[in-house]
């Protein structure tokens, strides 16, 4: 137990900051995921076959390929891709991308594929009458989307978005392979130098449980908020 205290002799403070890092990666990844969902959900709903295909390709590939493989793709291919773009703009030289950005981006792409599916499902389960009614009332298209469709979409989407958050939070553990010091990496380091892997990995499990427990509490509140009137 002395190994877990804060300060010089224990790993408490290191693990605390690692937990914050995990949270930071998860939240950033979730937001990047929403950005992807914002792009791909309209493509998925649209009637254009080519746009449909692009969106379906994205969600099927990402959801069918292991997260670890996606992370390796960006870990090894990320700086090559960035350098390629930089070359077009006339910058020659080596660019190394920060592990946080690679991690958040690759988890974000994965989380985006799940979010896209959730929002598509929410959009499609809104009754047609709602669209027709807002049309009949003469609401402009964007007004009807933001005031009529979107609030109902959120109500339907939030329970599933909570699931996506759980998946994203747990996926951040995989980022440890890139060397970013989050919970898993920090436990690995601590376990290596103290030769007590059982303690540190079990403690890591507890930290993840705490994170999932409290985030579910918050998300349930949010769900209740959007469930008003039903």
């Amino acid at each position: 137990m002395e190994l877990l205290v804060f300060g010089k002799n224990g790993w408490g403070d290191e693990l605390f900051f690692a937990t914050l890092m995990t949270l930071a990666v998860a939240i950033t990844a979730m937001l990047i995921g929403f950005l992807f969902a914002l792009i791909f959900t309209p493509l998925k709903i649209s009637k254009n076959k080519i746009l449909n295909f692009i969106a379906n390709f994205y969600t099927t590939v990402i959801r069918g390929v292991p997260e670890l493989l996606v992370i390796y793709l960006f870990f090894f291919g990320g700086s090559t891709a960035v350098m390629f773009v930089a070359k077009i703009f006339g910058y020659e030289g080596y660019i190394e991308i920060n592990a946080f950005i690679i991690g958040a981006f690759s988890i974000g792409i994965i989380s985006g594929a799940y979010s896209t599916e959730v929002f598509r499902g929410a959009y499609q389960s809104i009754k047609r009458g709602q669209f027709e009614a807002s049309k009949v009332l003469g609401l402009k298209e964007n007004l009807s989307f933001f005031k009529v469709i979107l609030p109902q979409m959120l109500r339907l989407a939030i329970p599933n978005i909570a699931n996506v958050w759980q998946i994203t939070l747990k996926d951040t553990a995989l980022i440890s392979v890139t060397g970013l010091v989050e919970i898993m990496r920090q436990s690995h380091i601590a376990a290596g130098s103290t030769r007590d892997p059982l303690l540190f990995y079990s403690f890591a499990a507890v930290l993840y449980l705490i994170l999932t427990f409290f985030s579910m509490k918050i998300l349930n509140k949010l769900e209740a908020h959007y469930q008003r009137g039903y």
Partner: protein
Amino acid sequence: MDFDLMISSFPKLLNATLITLKLVSLSLVFGIFLGTFFAILRTGKNKFLKNFSYYYSYVFRGTPMLVQLFIIYFGLAQIEYLRSSFLWVLLKEPYWCAIIAFALNTGAYTSEILRSAFETIDKGYIEAGQSLGIPKNKIFYKIKLPIAIRQSLPAYSNEMILMLKGTSLASTVTLMDLTGVAKFIISTTFKPIEIFIVAGSIYLFITFLIHTFIKIIEKKLEYPR
């Protein structure tokens, strides 16, 4: 695009796919038994067993599978008692550690899937069975279980695909599965995109097979409404 590399790495990756398939199928088989067992406990009357089953699934679903794998592979070796017991034959092998971790993980999810299937069974079926005087265990095997299995197939196909992707974690404990070999080739050739396409296609193909397989079973087990 380096097509030669894609072609030359294909046999190696295909070979590694065998290990991936072995890991998936074994952990799914063990997982089904664990899942059924815990789902029965969960829907049973004994409060203690009910709670036990609840916390089992809560802990395994609330933590990343990587942590579970590391606790079993790195952590359990620390316990002196285990090292002298017969379990050590299994626990010293990364292969069996991976299967134990995966099976426990998928068991937790499977138990949740089956539990919700058991709970949504129309009470009328069970009452009908009781009023016909069918014994209790026969009601379970002949009425409850078949309906629950049919109910949970769509969710279970998702779980199978998640497990397929989950086995990629085996590469972190020195097993050379599909992802492990893919990573090895990437880190020696520095051609991530090519290898990603080949390995990703293999994964997608297996996903497709699982999906089709379950769809066929679903059709077969469909009952007239």
